[in-house]
Amino acid sequence: MNETVYVIAFYILAAIVLFSAIGVVVLKNIVHSALLLALTFVGVAGIYVLLNADYLAAVQVMVYAGAIAILIAFGVMLTRRPNMKESNPFNSSAVVGFVVAAGLFGTMAWAILTTTFPLGLTAPTDEISVRGVAKLLLEDYTVSFEAAALLLTVAMAGAIIIAKGAKKA
């Protein structure tokens, strides 16, 4: 019974993710694309829950579905365009792009389906994921963690200066 629920949940979430991602690509109105992008992020958060990564699911909802979706909505609103219904057109090389993406998907699917992966190299633990992640982040990866914090600060300051324009000294 539990296994059946897992299978059904996976297929529902995968359908949500893939169909809303297709909508992001093909819809003509960029506002609809931005809203479907937020739905894709929420679906990916559900996939993370299925993979026992509940902390990552919370981070995904807060950072992607919250902050990044809002930022993109602001970007859409701050750049005006004459016709909103045709605001997200394909460019002249759309056919080439489709062929490249479809070819890459075929290659990757073939490689995934013909490879046997080594499963379960380490024994599973009962530790909850946020505790394990915190231990790794603040012990083994402290320097990278601080570097990421520095990168975020610098990127935010840089984004403000680029968008606002720097004054002459």
């Binding site: 992001v24 894709t40 990564a53 981070v59 490249v100 995934i112 379960g120 633990t125």
Partner: protein, 103 residues
């Protein structure tokens, strides 16, 4: 029928290719940024799936995903700032009109 590593990897591959198609074939700069976000999400799905099925006792894959999320947030902020700056300068957000360096 059980859901294994392969299912999650194929889902990640499909999401990555949709993002790639979006980034390659769209005219609007913001739509290109959306495609890049889709690709980064697909990478995260792959990392966490490998973490669960290959090394279920460790959390290294999830830590890598956190770094990817942090870098993606920085990237989208700077990218949108550039889009807004270009828009203020040229009143366009179309990637095909950004060809002033061409002769």
């Amino acid at each position: 029928m059980t859901i294994g590593l392969t299912h999650f990897l194929v889902l990640g591959a499909a999401l990555f290719c949709l993002g790639l198609f979006c980034a390659l074939s769209k005219r609007n700069l913001i739509a290109i940024l959306m495609g890049i976000e889709l690709m980064l999400n697909a990478v995260n799905v792959n990392l966490i799936a490998f973490n669960k099925f290959v090394a279920p006792g460790s959390f290294e894959g999830q830590v890598f995903s956190i770094f990817i999320i942090a870098v993606a947030a920085a990237e989208v902020a700077v990218g949108l700032a550039l889009v807004i700056s270009i828009y203020r300068d040229r009143t366009t957000s179309s990637a095909e009109e950004l060809n002033w360096l061409k002769l």
